[in-house]
Every structure is written in structure tokens, then in C-alpha cells.
């Protein structure tokens, strides 16, 4: 029997699909929606919204059932990890997807962009995101990265009649394809250095060496560059402001939360498992990446006059803070980064949801000046945005404060206090532009031309604002709710 036949012979490898069930449900729902759109085209979005929400809920239920999974640590020949790490990330991503779906229907109706392709694409992107956090083989990580990226390029350009959207999509696509090449090149080097693309296999191969060798170090560098593009860390952040600004705001909300969580999930797994033996080498690299992301993101955000660009630069700085946790290279570091990611996802999604509602028709009022007096016109919306901005700035009692503290304390324990010093100073400077928006909302009168503009949304849109706002406050006051889960979820099994 040849090696290929041996590898696929059923007696040798029982096919266990259950750890892959969330993705299968998502893709199945997406295909059903695609068919529905093709066979019964309808301008009514309700069936699409309900079906895709059902798909996400089904995937979440399948994910939850994996929390108590007693089977092998990885299935399908070591391709899929069945650990709580993946369960945690999938739940965060699915929550982001659900809120993104809730936000979308009213936005698309209002912008006149309601087309049936939207929801299948969003579900495909979600499937890619959840798959990447469970993938424990570099090839599968690449595949999942492409699934989520390709769907997001299209979603970014969904309002293609608006030139900014088409341009954003093009920029995102070109730079994304560029970063994929880096990533693939890194996989090739990892294979060259260790003879396998399996994360556990790479870790074993590297651990048995005394000196780090050049091939493995090149692989580490190239893979870090590929991930840095996706998480939008400086100096690989150039696409972020344009893509976030040009994309329809409901897409921006979903992708700013989902992509970062997904890419960080794979980032933590690859560097926390496969390349852990080389931690001495990459820790310094991550530290530098974190420091310049925080500084550049915070400084450039100060100069922004558009709320979407401001939030984009803020998300670049946030990527830096999460990298501080990763650069600690310890269990506590991974744990704090995971907490930070959940908080970040909720906060940034909520903030963009407010922007989506406040911009009235499509992308009309995204200039910062149109937020003057928002709190007076729409008190609840103003209050929610205030909560999100304070959380992003890291001010107690919001969840962002706990997230920053836990990341910093993990880094200090690992001895990288200069990095923490830089991060703390930069976050003080960053508080300026968050608070400037709050001041604008509460202490200034609305401009006369937008005074009479009515800001409305449907209940689903409100849910997408209020649910994250509620969670931001709850996790700020009771962070133990999440940390309790993280004690077991931050252990990567293989």
C-alpha cells in the first residue's frame, strides 16, 4: 500500500467532523442563502437576516458543545484543533457576526444597497474567521485566511457605485494579496526548516535544536509580517484607514472586530505553540511592533477629522496593545491578549454601529463635526458612543481599562517594562482624541445643517449598539466572568 493510500485508509484515520461542525453549519447556511437568492430573488431582506442569524446561532451552539469535548486534541490528521482556545475565539467571532448581521439590514435598505449576496458573503467570511482560530496546520491557516479575506474584499467593495468603496476594496485586495504572499513564503521556510507544516510538529522539531537556525527565523519573520498585515500593526497598517473608511459601515463594524480577533487567534496559536521554542527571538520583534503600532496609531488618530478614520487608527493602536500581551510570551500574556480581544471586538463593533446609525443614509455624516451635539439629539446613542470611546481609551470602569491593565501586568511580569512605559504614555496621549469626541458630543451645539436630520434605526440596529455597550460595562465591573473561562481556554492543546 502506498503512503497516500495508507494516509487516507479509513481504518487508519477515523474521520471525526464534530470539531468542524460550526464551520460546516456556517457554510451550509451560506450556500442555502446563495440558492435562495438565485432561485427566489426578493428585495425583502428579512428571510436572509433570520436565516443567517439562525446559522450563526447553530454554529454557536455547535461551538458551545465543543467546550466539553473529550475526544482527541486534534482531528482530521492534526489539521483541526478541538481545544477550548478555539471555542473561545469562535464564540467571540460568532457574536461579532451576529451583531454585524443585525446592523446590516437597516443600513443596506437605507443606502439602497440591499442585495442577496451580502449575507452569504458575510457568513463565508465568518466561517473563514472561525476556521482560522481552530486550524492547527499552517496550510489550513492559509486557506482559512484566504476564505475570510476574499469574502471581505468583496464586502468592502459592496457599495461599488460609491467610488470610495471600490477604491477601498481594491487597496485592501492588493495589499492583502501581497501579505498572503509573505505568509506563504513563511510557510515554505517553516516547512524547509522543520519538514512539516503541522504546528505541533514544528514545535517538536524546533524544541530539539540547541541553536535557532536561520531558516526557522526567516519563517518566523515572514509569518509575523503576514499576520501583522491582517491585524493592522504598524508598519503594515497602510490599508486600514482607507479600507475602514471606504467600506459600508456595517461591514467595517464586522470586519474590524472579526478579522482582528481571527487573525490574532491564529497568531497566538502559531507563535504560542509552533514557534514557542524561538520565543527569545520573536519576543523582542513583537515588542518593537507593539511599541510602534501604539505610538503611530495614537499620534495619527489625533489628526483625523473623520470618525471612521479615527476609529481605524485607534484600532491600529489597539492591535499594538494586544501585541504587548503576545510579546510577553507567557501563559498570562496569552490570557490577557485573549481578554483584550473580546473587549476590543465588542467595543469597536459598538462604536462602528453608532457610526452606522448616525450617518443617516449610507455614508453621509461621518465627519467629526457632525457629531457635535449628538448627545443632545440622541442621548442614548451619545451615551453608548461615550462608553465605547472611554473603553477604547482605557478608563475605568469600562472593560478596556481591565484589558489594558491585564496586558501591561503580563508584560511587566515578563520583564519588558520599557515597552509598558511607552504603552502607558501613549495611551495617555491617546485619551485626548477619544475625549475630544465626547466633548464634541456633549458640549457643542449641532451644526445648523444637520440639526434637523433625523437619526433613526430599527430595533435590530439598536440591539447592535446596546448589547456591546452593556457588555463593555459588565466586563469592566465583573472581569472575572471572562477570566474564569480564560483560565482553561488559554491553554492550547495539540
Amino acid at each position: 500500500m502506498g503512503p497516500l493510500a495508507q494516509a487516507v485508509a479509513p481504518s487508519h484515520m477515523p474521520i471525526v467532523l464534530r470539531p468542524l461542525l460550526p464551520e460546516l453549519i456556517l457554510v451550509g447556511t451560506a450556500l442555502a442563502l446563495m440558492l435562495l437568492d438565485a432561485l427566489r430573488p426578493t428585495p425583502d431582506q428579512r428571510p436572509f437576516v433570520l436565516l443567517s442569524l439562525a446559522g450563526v446561532a447553530g454554529a454557536a451552539a455547535a461551538t458551545l458543545s465543543l467546550w466539553t469535548w473529550k475526544g482527541p486534541g486534534s482531528v482530521l490528521g492534526g489539521m483541526i484543533a478541538a481545544d477550548r482556545f478555539a471555542v473561545y475565539f469562535r464564540l467571540v467571532i460568532l457574536a461579532a457576526a451576529a451583531l454585524g448581521i443585525l446592523l446590516s439590514s437597516y443600513y443596506l435598505d437605507r443606502a439602497g444597497e440591499a442585495r442577496g449576496e451580502y449575507y452569504p458573503l458575510l457568513l463565508f467570511a465568518t466561517a473563514g474567521m472561525t476556521l482560522i482560530t481552530a486550524a492547527s496546520d499552517l496550510i489550513l491557516i492559509f486557506l482559512a485566511l484566504e476564505i475570510l479575506s476574499l469574502s471581505l474584499y468583496l464586502l468592502t467593495g459592496f457599495s461599488f457605485r460609491r467610488l470610495a468603496s471600490a477604491e477601498a476594496s481594491m487597496k485592501y485586495f492588493l495589499l492583502g494579496a501581497f501579505s498572503s504572499a509573505f505568509f506563504l513564503y513563511g510557510i515554505a521556510f517553516a516547512y524547509g526548516a522543520t519538514g512539516t507544516t503541522n504546528l505541533a510538529g514544528i514545535a517538536t522539531a524546533l524544541a530539539s535544536r540547541v541553536n535557532g537556525d536561520a531558516l526557522a527565523l526567516i519563517a518566523v519573520g515572514l509569518l509575523a509580517v503576514g499576520f501583522s498585515f491582517k491585524i493592522a500593526a504598524v508598519p503594515f497598517h497602510m490599508w486600514t484607514p482607507d479600507a475602514y473608511q471606504g467600506a459600508p459601515t456595517c461591514v467595517t463594524a464586522f470586519m474590524s472586530a472579526g478579522t482582528k480577533v481571527a487573525a490574532f487567534g491564529a497568531f497566538l496559536r502559531v507563535f504560542g505553540v509552533a514557534f514557542l521554542p524561538l520565543a527569545h527571538d520573536w519576543r523582542a520583534f513583537m515588542g518593537v511592533l507593539a511599541a510602534i503600532s501604539i505610538i503611530v496609531g495614537s499620534v495619527l488618530a489625533i489628526a483625523q477629522t473623520d470618525i471612521k478614520r479615527l476609529l481605524a487608527y485607534s484600532s491600529i493602536a489597539q492591535a499594538g496593545f494586544i501585541l504587548v500581551g503576545l510579546s510577553a510570551g507567557t501563559q498570562a500574556g496569552i490570557q490577557s491578549a485573549m481578554f483584550y480581544l473580546a473587549v476590543y471586538a465588542g467595543t469597536v463593533l459598538g462604536a462602528f454601529a453608532v457610526v452606522a446609525i448616525a450617518s443617516v443614509r449610507g455614508e453621509e455624516h461621518t465627519a467629526l463635526s457632525s457629531y457635535a451635539g449628538l448627545a443632545r439629539r440622541r442621548p442614548l446613542l451619545g451615551l453608548a458612543l461615550t462608553a465605547f470611546l472611554l473603553s477604547l481609551a482605557g478608563i475605568p470602569p469600562m472593560a478596556g481599562f481591565i484589558a489594558k491593565v491585564s496586558v501591561f501586568s503580563a508584560a511587566v511580569q515578563a520583564g519588558s517594562w520599557p515597552l509598558v512605559l511607552i504603552a502607558v504614555l501613549a495611551s495617555v496621549a491617546a485619551a485626548f482624541f477619544y475625549i475630544r469626541v465626547i466633548v464634541l458630543m456633549y458640549m457643542q451645539d449641532p451644526a445648523p445643517e444637520i440639526e434637523g436630520v433625523r437619526i433613526e434605526s430599527d430595533p435590530a440596529g439598536w440591539a447592535a449598539v446596546l448589547a456591546p455597550a452593556f457588555l463593555t460595562v459588565v466586563f469592566g465591573i465583573l472581569p472575572g466572568l471572562l477570566f474564569g473561562l480564560l483560565r482553561t481556554a488559554s491553554v492550547v492543546r495539540f
Binding site: A9, M34, L163
Partner: protein
């Protein structure tokens, strides 16, 4: 630990040398090169044709869609051939799995047909 990171001094040295090389070359060119500004040099095409209209243009994407549809059949055959050589040994399960695979690809074709991209118009 300090001496360990000192090994990376070579990388920093190469980085500085690289930046230095480009900086020196550009500065030297700036100092040495003759400078004769003319308005013609600022036009888009120096050969003399003035650009008309704007840079945005629509492109016929018909062929592009066909390339996409070709991929459906292409991917199908890429997996069908290796499968065909061993499916006897794998039994019913493999047949069902290939059926699912082809069904998903066929959905793509059905979608394209319903969206009327198969019409050459």
C-alpha cells in the same frame, strides 16, 4: 541574554547601511544633477498627448467571469483524477464525499446560470 540580542546587531547594521546607501545616492543625485525646470515636464505624457477625461474607466468583465466559471471545472478535475485512482479502495464513503464536493461546485454553476452570467450579452 544581552550578548544574545547583540547578535541581531548585524541586522541593525545592514538596515542602517541600506538606508544610508539610498540616502547617499539620492542626496548625491540632488547635488550633482543639472536642474532645468520646464512646464512641459509637468505634463502627464511628455511625448506630447494631453490626457483627456479622468482615470476611472469601466472595463468589460465578461471574460473574467468565464475565467471564474472555468475554475469550477478546473478544481473539480484536479480533485477528481487522484480520487478516481483510489476510490475503489475507500468504498462508499469516498463516493458520497465526492458527490458532496461536486454538488457544491454545481451550486456555483447553478448560481451563475440564475444570475444570467452565462448569456453573452
Amino acid at each position: 541574554m544581552e550578548s544574545y540580542y547583540a547578535q541581531y546587531g548585524v541586522v541593525v547594521a545592514v538596515l542602517i547601511a541600506g538606508i544610508g546607501l539610498v540616502a547617499v545616492a539620492f542626496t548625491a543625485a540632488r547635488i550633482v544633477a543639472p536642474r532645468r525646470p520646464l512646464p512641459e515636464k509637468l505634463t502627464t505624457y511628455e511625448c506630447g498627448i494631453d490626457p483627456v477625461g479622468e482615470g476611472w474607466a469601466q472595463t468589460q468583465i465578461r471574460y473574467y467571469i468565464y475565467a471564474f466559471l472555468f475554475v469550477i471545472f478546473d478544481v473539480e478535475s484536479v480533485f477528481l483524477f487522484p480520487w478516481a485512482t483510489i476510490f475503489e479502495r475507500l468504498g462508499m464513503q469516498a463516493v458520497v464525499e465526492m458527490g458532496i464536493f461536486i454538488f457544491i461546485l454545481a451550486l456555483g454553476l447553478l448560481y451563475a446560470y440564475r444570475k444570467k452570467v452565462l448569456q453573452w450579452a
